[in-house]
Symmetry: C2
Subunit: 251 residues, 2 copies
């Protein structure tokens, strides 16, 4: 066996995580499995602060909970102390607070909203996306601005559909409850949106790819966590690394 | 929906990772899914440095590669800067270097070797464990000392079996190659050890639980990564948190 151990090249990635922890674990695993490697030293150095003390983002946006920015800044300061070259956040709703965070640091963030909008435009031109996201993400129009900038048309949930989305995020994935019994609720949600004109689905809360993967139902889906992983790998290792969609999508 | 967002209690956990990154992702996911929670803020704050620049541990032990301690210390300094209360390393072989690391910091490490030996003694009294581990772990007798201290009898691999273990670790999991085609090699290894008197198997390299889970074959196995996760959760949240084996083992 040949042991070559030069240090891995590339930049260091920072993950401002914990929103929630399972979504952070999902992002980290996707980064590891999507990076083309033949040994440990080919991987990117990744620093994660999974700060479970960050208050709920939707609650803050709706005026029902404390400002999450101080605890997000605590994690950002840790990432800065570790010398990261860029920061990503595996929480779509958290991006409402991104301008306040970016104003506090010179280190660039990669926006999950922008990379997702780019993926939608590239992969489903002329089609209609249904947005599955938290009340906080929906009410602030976070995704609408990013999607509009790329010419992506979007269908929103009605109140009953939105209640199902929030149930699946908060009372199933974040509550660490078994996912399989929720298959009917999930299927009903997608069928309902399809009947109203959705061609594909944006899993616009980072808990939802975890749910979708466990249930294994067909989308088609755009997975913002996977898009963020792909963009972060490109940032750290260079544009030429992921040679195709297939390469980037191997399990 | 009630939004309560007090900060999570408990201590902050540090993971000195990247040895390899997939094993680090496996440990982090196990910590998240084994922690009893009903919402994000019930989780432990976890800081991870997945330092892919750490040279191979077995190569260093065998005199075929550079000393990994400087890059391990780089990660340890990052974890210290982030204020962690204890450190764990999802790499069995790396524990050869633990005395040198512990001498450099006041922050306690939890040893994967010790928690695994305790699990073996408690779960399989009087039975014989087969040790599946890297050449570095085997040749240094790392596990033997920990297992002997708990009165656990251990069967070692013969040269052909050990070559299979190293193949599965380095040329499959670490090389990011598809695992399913290796099912026959894995099954043959376990059968061979069983025929020589093994009652159960210690998955004593953190790449092996990833392989075992993907292949889904019966052990019985002791998974040091899961034992380390369990011990770390107990350290951070207190002894009373995991009420039973079942609770700690939910997926």
């Amino acid at each position: 066996m040949a042991y070559e151990t030069p240090p891995s090249a590339g930049k260091t990635l920072g993950i401002l995580g914990g929103m929630g922890p399972l979504a952070t674990a999902d992002l980290y695993r996707k980064i590891v499995t999507m990076t083309p490697v033949s040994r440990d030293n080919d991987h990117i150095r990744v620093i994660i602060d999974s700060n479970a003390r960050i208050p709920d983002r939707t609650a803050a946006i709706l005026g029902e909970g404390p400002d999450p920015v101080p605890e997000m800044l605590s994690a950002l300061r840790n990432l800065e102390a570790c010398g990261v070259d860029c920061v990503i956040m595996p929480c779509n709703t958290a991006h409402y607070f991104l301008p306040r965070l970016q104003a506090e640091t010179e280190i660039p963030f990669i926006s999950i909203l922008e990379v997702t909008a780019e993926a939608c435009a590239a992969r489903y031109p002329g089609k209609t996306a249904a947005l599955l996201a938290t009340d906080g993400t929906v009410r602030t129009g976070l995704y609408d601005r990013a999607l509009e900038a790329k010419g992506v048309s979007v269908l929103h949930t009605d109140p009953a559909e939105q209640a199902t989305v929030m149930h699946l995020i908060y009372e199933v994935v974040k509550a660490s409850r078994p996912i399989p019994p929720e298959a009917e609720a999930w299927k009903g949600l997608l069928d309902s949106l399809r009947s109203r004109g959705a061609d594909y689905f944006i899993l616009g809360c980072t808990e939802l790819p975890v749910l979708a993967e466990t249930l294994g139902l067909p989308g088609p889906f755009v997975d913002p966590t996977a898009e963020l992983a792909r963009a972060a790998i490109r940032f750290c290792l260079g544009e030429a690394v992921l040679t195709s969609e297939e390469e980037g999508r191997k399990p």
